[in-house]
Each structure stands twice: as C-alpha cells, then as structure tokens.
Point group: C2
Amino acid sequence: MIQSVDRAARILHELGSGSPTLGVTEIGARLDLAKPTVHGLLRTLEQSGLVSQDVATGRYSLGPRVLQLGNAYLAGSELRSRSMLRAGSLARQVNEAVWVSVLVDDAVMVVHHEFRPDDAVQILEVGATIPWHACALGQAIVAAMPAPEVEALVAAPLRALTGRTRTAPDAVRKALAAVADKGFAVENQEANVGDGGIAAAIFDHGGRAVGSMGVVGPAERLLQRQARSKLSRAVVDTARAVSRDLGASRGLQGDPRVTHRDRPPR
Amino acid sequence: MIQSVDRAARILHELGSGSPTLGVTEIGARLDLAKPTVHGLLRTLEQSGLVSQDVATGRYSLGPRVLQLGNAYLAGSELRSRSMLRAGSLARQVNEAVWVSVLVDDAVMVVHHEFRPDDAVQILEVGATIPWHACALGQAIVAAMPAPEVEALVAAPLRALTGRTRTAPDAVRKALAAVADKGFAVENQEANVGDGGIAAAIFDHGGRAVGSMGVVGPAERLLQRQARSKLSRAVVDTARAVSRDLGASRGLQGDPRVTHRDRPPR
DNA sequence: ATCTGTGTTCGACGATGCTGAACAAGAATC
DNA sequence: GATTCTTGTTCAGCATCGTCGAACACAGAT
C-alpha cells in the first residue's frame, strides 16, 4: 500500500464526511499528519480538480471533478445498467418507488432510483447512503454475505436512527437469519419515521451478493398484509431476474472466490 | 506536486473518461508508467474504495466511493445551495427547465437541474458535462473570465457536436465578445440538434465567474423572438441575484484580487 | 502442447516525499 | 491600535518510501 496515495484518499474521505470545508491544520489533526504534509497532498489534489480551495478563506473542499467521476461510475456500473430496465418494470407493476443499492463499508449507497410512477415531484436519492442495519436494502445484502464478513459488520457499533432501529447484535443476527431464510428483507421505520421498505439481494455469476434492490415508501402502505406479500414476491422475482442477467453476462465459469491463489495478502 | 498522488489522480481520470474498465497494462501504456507502478497505485486506490477490481476478469473500474464523494461535493457546494431556491423560482416563472453549472477544464458540468414544472418524466442531468463552446452555459462563463484564460481555451481544438457548433477560433471569439457585451449567451442547437439554451454567468464576491445558470429546452420554443427576450431578462436577473447572495455571504471586504486599494464604499 | 497475453510478486537502487523549524498574513483579543 | 494568537505557506535535509526491471503464475488463443 502506497503511503501518500492512501493519505490523499483519506483526505478526500474526510472532506466528504461531515464538514464540507476543512483547513490544513484541521485535517492534519484528524489524520495525525504534519501540516506541510497535508499541504503538499492538498496542492496536488487541487491541481487534479479533486479538491478546490476557497481563495478567500484558504479552506479546502471537494472539487467538481469528484462529481464527474461519480457520474462516470454510474455510467459504467454493470449492476446499474443491468437493473435499470427491470427496476422500471417493477416500479410500474407495483406502483412504488424502486431503489437499487450497493454496499460500501457499513452503509448502502443508492445507485439507481426509479420514481414511483404517479408521484409528480420527488427528490432523487442517487448517491445517498444509509447505514446497512437500518434499511431493507442493507439487510438483504448483508444476510447474503459470507459469515465472517457479516460478523465484522454486526460486531461494529450500530447507531439508532429511529426508535425502531435494531442495534443490539443479537437482535440483528436474528433478523439477518430471518432474511436469509425468507430471501427478502422488510424494514419498518428503522431509518426514517414513516418510511418502510422491502428488498432482496442481487448476486453475480459467482454467487456473491453485489447489491440489492427493493421498494421504498410509506410504511403503512407497503407493509399492510396483502400489499406486503404481493410486493415481496415481485421484488424477489425482479432481483432474481437481474441476478440471472448478471450471471449470464459472462459465461458461467466456477465460483471466483475459491479459484486460484488463496495466498494471504503480503 | 507529489508524484504518486498525481499519478493516482490521473488513473482515476482515465477510468472516468472513455472505457469504464481498464487493465493494468492498458493504464500503464496510456500514462507511460511501468506495470508494477500502476499495480501498486491501483491496489491502494482499491483499498480506499475509489477503485474496484472485477474478480473474474482482473480489470479495474471506478469504485462506489467516488459516487459518494460526488454526492458530498453536491451537498457542500455553496454555488449549488445558494442557487437552488432561485433556480426553482425561475423554472416556475418561465416554465422551463433550469440548469446551474460549473466549468471544469474545457467542459461545463451540471451541478443542479430544476425540472420544467409541467413535464412529467425527465432525466436528471446532474454530473453531466458538455464542451464549453457548445452550450450557452459554457459561453456565459468563459466570456466572463480573464482574457489569458479565455485565449487558452479558445486556442485548444474545439470539437463540433452538431452542424451548428462553432469551432473556428475567430468565430468563437466574436461570439464571446457578443456574450460579454449583452451579459448573456444564447445557444441554438450547437450541442444537440433541436435543443437550445439561454444562460448568464454567476460571480462570487471577488468578481470571478464561478459558474452559470440558464434555461434549456427545445430551440424553437426558447428562441422565438418574444420568448427569447423575456427569458434572457429573467435569466440575467436570477443569475445576478445569486451572485449578490454569494457576495453577501462573506462580509464584503475589498476585492482580494486588487489588493487593498479599491475598497468599496460602505 | 506452445505461446502470447494478462495481473502479480520480489528486491535493490535512488529519486522522492516526509518532517521540524521558520515565514508572512489575518483574526481576535485586550 | 498594538499585541498575540491563529492560520496557510515555504524551505531545507535526511531517510524513507515509491519506483522499476526481471521473473512468476495463470488464462486464453494459436
């Protein structure tokens, strides 16, 4: 791992989380780096457009190029491109908003947002992140991951977003087991009061959970008995169809997780 | 300038433009770097989530974290946050879609997209880029920039996107002079056939052009005589209001570019 | 089975980035 | 209004850290 690049990435991450603008000294304190070191890193990042400095205050913030890169990521995302059509069909079929998401660290990030067909004005949520344990999208992915990775996620401290968020490790484990058993996850106001969701994992050709998709909306509408079963079936079917598309895209050779080199890194 | 960080940024840029997935050798060839060098950089970027590797093919692509950063950039952008309300008013007033943009290198990037009020289904264009010389948003910004920077942009080769795109340096200079004179730019199918736009620059407290905003839509609707003058006045007024907001946001002391001599009367 | 292609590892050279101290400017304090 | 904190920035030298050539393991094509 190359030191300076890692530090630069850490600076970007710091600028992206929390305060949108930081000073050299502040960054140095947070990352435990000398002031001139941070300065040099920021200067090169600025030259690449990844960071920009406010000429008036001298403080630094993320540059426009990161947005451009984010857009390029979306444009090139195979999961996104392969799920868009089916997400549209699902949204029209059940008349609800549909989200497609990916796990990054301990949160799911929305990579596609299909609007609820009849709602006029809606906010686009692409790029937004939600703690994995507080939404159906996250629970669906995690429940389908290998046990050791799941344990690492469950063991970390889990923040409560509403009064209904599960934070106790045992409760979360139990919930995940239920999700793995049923094949889909249901969330009832665990992230935002009033909102709920139903989601299922999406797998690639090697059986790895690469993301999830599901419906999102008012809990009372989504989670009443008859809607619930209809929605969950539709979601599971669509997610499975996307998984099939992903698997078919590259001739189905064996599981890449157990192929060649199991040599430990370094 | 730190070498390794600059190279890492260049890799990201390469992954973001053109082919969405690249191999180590290919990147090495494009940037004229040794294979192991590229490999080390990629491994570090991958660990930060900025890049991800396809386990099956071994090729690399942008990682989900860049999208997260892009979202953080939007959330923290002062230009965006200060123009959103006024962009909404403008869109409702003239019943057209409104874009707010920033210049990055030789293209404008859309940082905010206000939908045309009565259109039901529209595609969100935030993060998209358009060559500066082929749209009103770009011409408005560039016409308001210092002469040397303008010259550098005009001197570079300009690509034609439609039959109406101006590419000859002299023609572009003439157009920019007209824009600077009138205070707004008009584009007629120079980027996409059928589409046109009217835009004006946005300035910060130091008089620097930090972006632009304008209306976008079918050329025949926007550019007919009476609509054109009504729209251009509304756009100019709104852009000026945003500029005022930006200037007022940090107590109006003197212009930082012209030392202390020209202190404005208070 | 051979061969070119890939991504990857290793080790040693030396360029390269890190650090502590010192600098100029602005803001806040009294 | 002078003082005393800050802040972002510059400059050196030493040692670290990243770079590169050659060699490896595997995949697909010949």
